[in-house]
Symmetry: C2
Subunit: 211 residues, 2 copies
């Protein structure tokens, strides 16, 4: 069997073990057994538990980013693009619950260098979402003046942070709650987010009423 | 000086040091120096770096929950309650950036038992927000049938997760981005969230159009 294939099998076993037991509790013995290889072979190929975990984070992060980017229906209307991207995100996290647990729970709760690896992926997703929302906003406004654009950029950056944070939180909840499908989670967030985003793009804002 | 006062001074110094340098890099020497006490006194009062960090997490979590609960204008309209709660949240995280860094960044990235301490606080906030949204939804629907109520409960739980995740994400962004005020962050989230929540409460849903 080629080395690359063996490595992927080891990483499949590692993602499952890290995702279900946590980084600390997972043992290289269990990972080797689940992968159907000897422990020395795991060390030979992937060096150490720390390097194996880092490799898992990178692989799962790349797969998630790729799934979201591939899911977005480019050229569609802004709401349709957002919906398709969210759908792809929740489908990916629902069908890879161990991968998502590695990224969202394990990697962030075991210090550096793991937390930094996930932060890079998160920045990438925020940037991608910022691009989506920004394009929709520019479209809706039909080319703002410079001053408007400046205000808009900060709004858009904040909205992207809000959306990504909401999606992360919902993905964990959906995976932990029996009977919540990926589609439901996406619809919840879309219902939550779209009306607000749509209003903002039309220049309609929520204003606190006098008490 | 009474022991309780001394302890609070040590914890003030510890929160600042942990928040700015991170759990690993922070040293008990620095904390003692910043608090103006001897290192043995810190150990005498708070036992170990781990226990000191745990005490900081608990204090900061309790302060944040109390600030949000105190901030909500009880008896006001649902949007006003949400707005006042969000305002209190972002004001607290903006005026206690080190405390927020301890809770959101440090405690979650240094494994157990710290991550568990923060999870308890998060559950408390989610429950509180679920109560707010649920009360508003019941009000809007004027007492749903049992079947409606069941659907509603799950919707509400998901929305609370989305809102809390969005708020966490925005608070980190606001603290890291120069010139973003607590009020702006609250307004961004309110604009983002309220139109969607308001629509849902009126039974209006976003539906994907045919492609």
């Amino acid at each position: 069997m080629p080395r690359a294939v063996r490595e992927q099998q080891m990483m499949d076993a590692a993602v499952r073990t890290f995702g279900q037991l946590g980084y600390r509790a997972a043992s290289m013995d269990e990972i080797a057994e689940l992968a159907g290889v000897s422990k020395p072979l795991v060390y030979l190929y992937l060096n150490s538990k720390e390097e194996l975990f880092t490799a898992c984070i990178r692989r799962e992060a790349a797969a998630l980013v790729a799934a979201v980017q591939a899911g977005v229906e480019s050229g569609a209307t802004a709401d349709r693009q957002l919906w398709s991207g969210l759908g792809a995100f929740f489908e990916h996290t629902a069908s890879n619950p161990d991968g998502w647990a590695v990224l969202h729970r394990q990697a962030r709760t075991h210090g550096e260098p793991f937390a930094g690896e996930v932060a890079v992926m998160r920045d990438e997703i925020v940037e991608f979402v910022t691009g989506l929302i920004g394009a929709a906003a520019r479209e809706a406004h039909g080319g703002p003046s410079d001053r408007d654009a400046e205000l808009l950029d900060r709004d858009v950056a904040g909205l992207a942070q809000a959306l990504v944070g909401a999606a992360e939180s919902l993905a964990g909840w959906a995976n932990d709650t029996e009977g919540v499908s990926a589609k439901e989670a996406a619809a919840t967030l879309m219902n939550f987010a779209w009306a607000g985003l749509g209003n903002l793009m039309r220049g309609v804002r929520w204003v606190p009423s006098a008490r």
